[in-house]
């Protein structure tokens, strides 16, 4: 069938018309091969303009369309829709940006006009080589993968699970509950941590739509909102590794935190002196099923008569405040006082961080109960026959010693060791502290930079339990509104394809694909594109030495034809 091209130049009000001599442009291009119509219009993107374009396509029986107007970022989709309405495949259309690239940047009118002619000629030359491409769609997958079985992951799973939505909750360790199940009491209401977690796990287990995979890790996650392909490997100690593959529509990362290793600061004596504990050690000691059946005891089996609580261990090294340590340290005071009446407690701190509606009162009550607060820097914890000595220096430079039986360190919270793995796997950035970064600190705090991947709880920075749960609910809300069962996803049309007869199997394309969309077929020894995962970035087509990888709509002849006319 003979080609019938239409070329339309938009005046863009005065934006283009004032600089570019449109009549000269039309005269220069109207005689080019297969050009059926060449015309100008005041404002093609307006309702009237679109109507005119549609009518002109139909009346002239156009097979290909070139529009010279503004940036494709602004109106490419507008004109593609017009094509569809006029029954023309939208990929048989090429937009030329003569506003930003000619009218606005080239000071001389004549030069701008010549440049516009050159670019339109290139588009005409290119569009001859376009082929009709078909849109592809798939139904979005409403299921969700939650990684991390702590309080944040548990709450997110509970909210998300529904009869038409399955949740996979993947936990690295053997049991759910995360750090919370090790906290005998919770700030601020002194509720039992294990008790609270047990209730939540019970609720979780009642749901038929949550599949809990313990001793399991996500090894590969590829895809995008509505369609992630997931590989999970279960590594139970006494069983063979079991691999599971499934698809989900969204991923929630609730990978939690770890404590700063206090051994890295030897002046605190952790790991070398008896009766120096971290906050987590102390929590453990208070658990009914802990090493001392819940009793606070010194290593020699005696109850301590005095204790020092050292704040901000590792804060300077990490460079941030972990924001919950001050609060839970007041909880420690109550736990010590309730077991050991008359126990003397001293806090060594440089700053106290106690925001929140109930917290100031809790602190003041603690202070009134006789707990001492010493604003100072701790220079050393020394050991000796009679117990421990806290050596400190106040702001005025005064030095002091305090003998105590027990020392509890409050180490900074740091990112979980898995953060890097998931950052790399999912292509989401880590912040300068190593936590998984939010899309926007203020406006989009639980979304990550990758659509469909959410970061909640301590995976994105130190959080309280309440904050973690709020974030779980926020992420769940976003997912519920985005992943409506039955919703159609539009897939990338301009994907890459690898021609079997050209592929030598050097795997270069696999290494340069940022989306994990290319796999190697060992039997045929060639690379294969997963068109659902392909975003059409063209890396593979550029890197393939033999031209086996080709990007639809950016084929070699199309680019060549365009360049040839630009350079001629």
């Amino acid at each position: 069938m003979a080609k019938r091209l239409g070329v339309y130049v938009c005046e863009c009000g005065t934006n283009i018309a004032d600089k570019v001599d449109i009549d000269k442009v039309l005269a220069a291009v109207s005689a080019l091969k297969d050009v059926e119509v060449a015309d100008r219009y005041k404002l093609l993107c307006s309702g009237d303009g679109q109507g005119y374009l549609k009518q002109s396509i139909t009346e002239n029986g156009l097979t290909h369309l070139v529009v010279a107007a503004c940036s494709p970022k602004q109106h490419e989709t507008t004109f593609m829709k017009v094509c569809e309405q006029a029954g023309l495949n939208p990929y048989l259309f090429q937009l030329v940006n003569i506003r930003e690239q000619c009218a606005w940047v080239t000071p001389d009118g004549e030069e701008a006009t010549d440049k516009a002619i050159r670019q339109i000629r290139a588009a005409i030359s290119r569009v001859h080589y376009h082929t009709a491409l078909e849109k592809k769609g798939m139904e979005c997958n409403p299921d969700v993968l939650v990684i991390g079985g702590g309080i944040a992951g548990i709450k997110a799973s509970q909210i998300l699970a529904a009869p038409d939505r399955k949740v996979y909750l993947v936990e690295k360790t053997a049991s759910l509950g995360g750090k919370t199940k090790r906290f005998s009491k919770l700030f601020v209401n002194m509720e039992s941590g294990p008790g609270l977690i047990a209730g939540e796990i019970e609720r979780l287990q009642k749901s038929k739509n949550i599949e809990v995979l313990t001793e399991s890790e996500a090894e590969q996650i590829l895809g995008f909102l509505g369609n992630f392909e997931v590989k999970v490997v279960s590594k139970a100690e006494d069983k063979e590794d079991k691999e599971q593959n499934f698809n989900v529509g969204a991923v929630v990362l609730a990978t939690g935190f770890e404590l700063f290793d206090a051994k890295g600061l030897p002046q605190y004596g952790y790991g070398t002196l008896d009766d120096v504990y971290t906050s987590l050690d102390f929590e453990e000691m208070n658990l009914a099923d802990g090493p001392t059946q819940g009793k606070v005891l010194l290593k020699n089996g005696q109850p301590p008569k005095s204790a020092a609580i050292i704040h901000c261990v590792g804060r300077a090294e990490k460079g941030y405040c972990s924001k919950v340590c001050c609060l839970y340290s007041f909880k420690f005071d109550r736990m010590l006082q309730s077991q050991l009446p008359g126990v003397k407690i001293a806090h060594f701190y440089s700053d106290l961080c106690i925001p929140g509606k109930a917290n100031q009162k809790f602190y003041e009550d603690t202070r009134e109960s006789g707990v001492e607060f010493v604003r100072s820097a701790v220079t050393e914890i020394a050991g000796g026959d009679k117990g421990l000595t806290v050596k400190y220096e106040t702001e005025t430079g005064a030095k002091g010693d305090l003998a105590v039986d027990m020392v509890i360190l409050l180490p900074a919270m740091e990112t979980s060791s898995d953060a890097r793995k998931f950052a790399e796997m999912l292509n989401i950035p880590q912040d300068d502290k190593g936590f998984l970064a939010e899309e926007h600190q203020l406006l989009s705090p639980v979304a990550s930079a990758v659509e469909g991947v959410f970061v909640i709880g301590c995976a994105r920075g130190p959080q309280s339990i309440a904050e973690s749960i709020v974030q779980a609910e926020a992420a769940a809300g976003k997912i519920l509104s985005a992943l409506v069962p039955g919703r159609k996803l539009e897939l990338e049309v301009k994907t890459s394809q690898i021609l079997e007869s050209f592929c030598t199997g050097c795997k270069t394309c696999i290494e340069v694909c940022p989306y994990g969309a290319i796999t190697f077929d060992e039997d045929r020894r060639i690379s294969v594109v997963n068109e659902v995962l392909c975003h059409g970035c063209g890396n593979c087509a550029a890197a393939c030495p033999s031209g086996a990888a080709r990007l639809k709509h950016f084929t070699f002849p199309q680019i060549y034809q365009e360049l040839k006319e630009v350079l001629r």
């Binding site: 050209f502 030598t504 340069v512 030495p545 033999s546 086996a548 002849p557 001629r568």
Partner: protein
């Protein structure tokens, strides 16, 4: 991994060829490997070809260092293992440039080295294929003199400036050829697989090889200087589009250079694919614009394109130049461009099996000077306009 100053002396008599064959015969009889892939003379002819030899007796036809490089060894190994490894243990005895090309192909998934033992040997160079074809007997005699240490002016120009004629670091075992006075050849292991060969032969790498090494280093130094000089002269003759057009003006578009190149591993060359077929009108337009058009078109583009595709992996083996029917110094030009590109990425093709080809790795901080020079363009423009 560079070998330290220790190797094993394999005692043997005769010329280099006899000594190497003695080593291979012993290794096969001891079961160190099942077969050898190496050049051999086809019975009853003057031709050399890569042969897979499993019978120690047949090794008498083998030529570890034939006078010419008729087929690049990397291509032979690739044709054997491209679709996967075999069960037999095969020792491939090849020249250092062939070995380096093999390593490049390994990185590109075109050879499987699991059951291949790569053995290289000190290389005296090779004669131009065309010279040998004129009179094989004469060429063989001339080469025998070179092997004995005679003058080497007749070896290929690319071999005369080769500074990587000995151990490359990526082989399993290197055969060092010491001076005439030595009572054998040096076996220098460079990997656990290479050490296994010595274990199998029951000899230890206890020999001081510094004498041999000094000899290699001295020649390397001389070659580096010679190469610098030769490349400077070549650059003066071929730099810039006009001179490059001149250099390749004799090209007859046979694409032999691409076909024999070990690094050109594509099933179909991009320049022979439909990507490079244009319409009559296209050609006409080009002819109109330029005042004329050479047909078939894109002759120089083919060479520049090939350079772009393979020069980072070019090992300067000279196969392309040997295959050129019109005596274009293809290998010398490609080696010059390849060396410059490789220097830019601090990459030596075939140096290591673990070093990824430069274009497969992305570094955020690199070539800042190039970025700077581009960033400076608008500023210059402004100055001009102002």
């Amino acid at each position: 991994m560079a070998p330290d100053d220790k190797g094993a002396l394999f005692p043997a008599e005769g010329g280099v060829r006899e000594r190497v064959i003695a080593f291979l015969q012993k290794a096969i009889s001891q079961g160190c490997f099942d077969a050898v892939l190496m050049p051999a003379k086809a019975p009853g002819t003057d031709s050399f070809a890569y042969s897979l030899i499993g019978d120690g007796q047949l090794l008498k036809n083998a030529y570890p260092l034939p006078p010419v490089m008729s087929v690049q060894g990397a291509k032979a190994i690739s044709s054997l293992t491209r679709s996967g490894k075999g069960k037999k243990k095969i020792a491939a005895l090849i020249r250092p440039c062939e070995l380096r090309a093999t390593v490049e192909l390994f990185k590109l998934g075109q050879v499987d080295l699991e059951n291949i033992w790569l053995i290289s040997i000190d290389c005296p160079g090779a004669l131009p294929l065309a010279e040998w074809a004129k009179d094989p007997k004469k060429a063989e005699d001339a080469f025998a003199e070179i092997l004995k240490g005679g003058p080497s002016e007749s070896i290929r120009p690319i071999c005369q400036i080769c500074d990587k004629f000995s151990t490359t670091g990526a082989e399993d075992l290197h055969i060092g050829v010491p001076g005439k006075e030595a009572s054998g050849i040096l076996l220098i292991p460079n990997s656990p697989k290479g050490e296994a060969i010595l274990d199998c032969l029951g000899i230890a790498a206890g020999e001081d090889i510094s004498g041999w090494k000094d000899q290699v280093d001295k020649l390397t130094g001389a070659r580096v200087e010679k190469k610098r000089q030769a490349q400077k002269e070549l650059e003066a003759k071929s730099k810039g589009l006009d001179k490059l057009l001149d250099t390749f003006s004799k090209c007859i578009n046979c694409h032999n250079c691409m076909r024999v190149c070990p690094i050109c591993y594509c099933r179909q060359c991009f320049f022979e694919s439909d990507n490079m077929q244009f319409s009559f009108e296209d050609y006409l337009k080009r002819a109109e614009a330029a005042g004329g058009l050479r047909l078939p078109p894109d002759t120089l583009l083919f060479h520049i394109g090939r350079m772009l595709h393979m020069s980072l992996s070019c090992v300067s083996c000279g196969a392309c130049e040997d295959a050129c029917p019109t005596a274009i110094p293809v290998a010398q030009v490609f080696s010059l461009v390849g060396n410059r590109n490789q220097e830019a990425f601090d990459y030596i093709p075939g140096r290591s099996r673990d070093e990824p080809p430069p274009l497969r790795v992305y570094q955020e901080e690199e070539f800042e000077e190039v970025e700077q020079s581009h960033a400076a363009v608008p500023a210059k423009q402004e100055a001009r306009d102002g």
